[in-house]
Amino acid sequence: MSTEANRMQSEPESPQEISHDRREFLKQCAAAAPLLLAIVQIAEEAAASANDESYKPEEHYYGMGIDVNKCIGCGRCADACKTENNVPREPFYFRTWVERYVLTTDGETVVTSPNGGIDGFPSTMSERGILRTFFVPKLCNHCANPPCVQVCPVGATFITRDGVVLVDKDYCIGCRYCIQACPYGARFLHPITRTAEKCTFCYHRVVRGNVPACVEVCPTGARIFGDVRARSSPLARFTRFNEVQVLKPQLNTAPKVYYANLDGEVR
């Protein structure tokens, strides 16, 4: 206001006028403070989000493809999984394992998985008796309709937006219902934490753009990891060019691990 401005440039004001100006100034400060605070907060958040991972779970929906014809049963996957995820090395706790099937000409089917296949497989019977024989890697199928999530009484296991079934080991009460409900034997109770545990698709690797440890070390590319919904990815190609099956489809768990060349004897 021009009269005030004029006044400020003229002789010293009376005390009342001075205090009036001070009041105005303080009012303006008070008005500006929230705005300043907001600006500072926005700046902080911007700085923080610049450091955040730019991983957006809603852009992904993970699955795995396994080509049974490529698996050589070397067990490197089962070994790497235990290393990466610090799983107890005793032969009773597996997040993933390899099974060997031997179908004999007599009509028998013999399945073995010594220590999950980590140390390889011992030599087998004479070739003459063999009708078909192959290796099948197994792991948690990260079902889209998971029976384990359905039965957890407290909500300690769940499926993320990117399709990975995880366990909250700080909330799990160790009732073991999920282990009973899994049709694939993929879960176990960790002997030390006393909570349920299973394959996590190496979630800590996946959110950083890596692949799970088992996929990383598979020497023949029998395991393929990727987005089930992507138009172009190795998994998309895999499901386009192979007749894929899932394990126990009649249970309607909608598994997201797709097996190519899966033999009918595999359970």
């Binding site: 107890p88 005793e90 032969p91 009773f92 706790y93 597996f94 394992w97 099974e99 089917t109 013999v110 399945v111 073995t112 998985s113 220590n115 999950g116 197994k138 029976p147 359905q150 039965v151 957890c152 009484p153 407290v154 909500g155 300690a156 909330y171 799990c172 009460i173 160790g174 009732c175 073991r176 219902y177 282990i179 009973q180 409900a181 899994c182 049709p183 694939y184 034997g185 993929a186 879960r187 176990f188 109770l189 002997p191 030390i192 934490t193 006393r194 909570t195 249970l251 359970r267």
Partner: protein, 414 residues
């Protein structure tokens, strides 16, 4: 960790066929067998009590309060096997905080709390209130204060008040029957709804659980009534006969359901039939064929059919009272063993075969340790100690009510 590893190594050596590597360790052991057994007794004892109140079966009236106290004693102990079994019992309250409504097990918190508070405690309170007030008036010392506290200050003994009590008991009992079904039925549903397990996944399991619960509950009250009656030298033979008749009827229904399940399984002969057949004939032969079926069901059925007045007012074969009592006690004992074996066969049996349907493992019951044999025995004995205390505080015997109490079936005139 070391001894777990040693145990599991031993088990691994006894595996036959192929099991998934994670299936070596049985997840639900002896404690999870004890829990449905205990809640089954609760539900069965309560149903028996309700027979008297709701269906006016006067002969079993002497057992009414005893059955309620038995149900309460066992219900209070029931969560203990579960707590001991959990990997993290200190987190067990999460079931109350964030129950997953899709999970049958989450219902435990609410069904249990409902049954304990609203059905059992309320019914006992309403039924005993008048006597509590009268006892508190005529006693001294600690007993007086306990009884006075238990009245919660509701000391009005007017005609309307007592009539309200009676109506409340009847109402709660009627509500309690489906609640008792739910209390034990949900346990059956926990197993019956697991599609991954062909031994468990069945529509019949909740129903079989329920009826075997009724059988075991009635058998328990019969045993308790008989034994306490022998000790106190006062019991009614007609009551025992009626209990035995009801036991027989319940056993017939239970056996029919189990036979139905068996026939149905054999007839459909689904993929799992081979491994299940092997399991029954090897691992479960003693507990299923011998203990559950022959000794626990067929033998008591035959005995009760002939000895109890199940088919009319007189038994098919008349035995003198002492012998009849002995046979009732023997039948009830065999039935308890049989029902416990039923629970064992369901829980343990469901985990003995692999979900790959290609192999069998073994269950090594520990002796010591939290999931061991001794703890299980302790857990099953504890309710009896609790019952003893309850009986001391809330005597269920008619003769010990010091003030004359007119027949409860008539309106009270004061």
């Amino acid at each position: 960790m070391q001894d777990i590893a040693q145990q599991l190594t031993n088990i691994l050596q006894q595996v036959s066929g192929y099991i998934y590597p994670n299936e070596v360790e049985l997840q639900w052991g002896l404690l999870v067998v004890v829990y449905p057994y205990i809640t089954g007794l609760v539900a069965g004892a309560f149903i028996l009590a309700s027979l008297e109140r709701v269906f006016n079966v006067k002969e079993v009236e002497p057992t009414y309060r005893l059955a309620l106290l038995t149900a309460l004693a066992f219900l209070l102990i029931a969560p203990l096997p579960l707590l001991l079994h959990l990997g993290h019992p200190e987190r067990s309250f999460e079931i109350f905080l964030t129950p997953n409504v899709h999970s049958a097990m989450a219902m435990f918190g609410f069904v249990y709390a409902w049954y304990l508070a609203v059905v059992l405690l309320l019914e006992i309170w309403f039924d005993y209130r008048k006597d509590l007030v009268l006892w508190a008036r005529n006693e001294r010392g600690l007993r007086k204060w306990i009884h006075l506290m238990l009245t919660l200050g509701a000391t009005d003994l007017s005609e309307q008040s007592v009539e309200f009590d009676r109506k409340a008991v009847r109402f709660i009992t009627i509500m309690g029957i489906p609640s008792a079904f739910l209390l034990h039925g949900y346990v059956g549903f926990i197993f019956g709804s697991v599609k991954a397990n062909p031994w468990w996944s069945s529509v019949l399991i909740p129903v079989v659980f329920l009826f075997s619960a009724m059988v075991s509950g009635i058998a328990l009250v019969l045993m308790l009534y008989l034994l306490t009656g022998l000790v106190r030298r006062s019991f009614e033979m007609t009551c025992l006969d009626k209990l035995a008749s009801f036991l027989f009827y319940a056993l017939v229904v239970d056996f029919s359901l189990e036979i139905l399940d068996f026939i149905h399984r054999l007839y459909e002969a689904e993929e799992s039939i081979k491994i299940l057949g092997t399991m029954i004939s090897t691992r479960l032969f003693l507990s299923l064929v011998v203990l559950q079926t022959l000794a626990g069901t067929v033998l008591p059925l035959i005995c009760l059919a002939f000895v109890s007045p199940a088919f009319g007012s007189r038994a098919l074969v008349r035995f003198p009272d002492e012998l009849r009592r002995l046979l009732y006690l023997a039948s009830a004992t065999l039935i308890q063993i049989g029902i416990f074996s039923t629970r064992w066969n369901v829980v343990i049996g469901g985990q003995l075969f692999s979900k790959s349907l290609r192999g069998l493992t073994v269950y090594k019951m520990e002796l010591l340790g939290l999931e061991g044999f001794f703890v299980a025995v302790l857990l099953m004995a504890a309710p009896f100690f609790l019952l003893y205390i309850l009986v001391k505080i809330l005597p269920p015997w008619k003769e010990e009510i010091t003030t004359p109490v007119p027949n409860r079936f008539r309106a009270i005139d004061l």
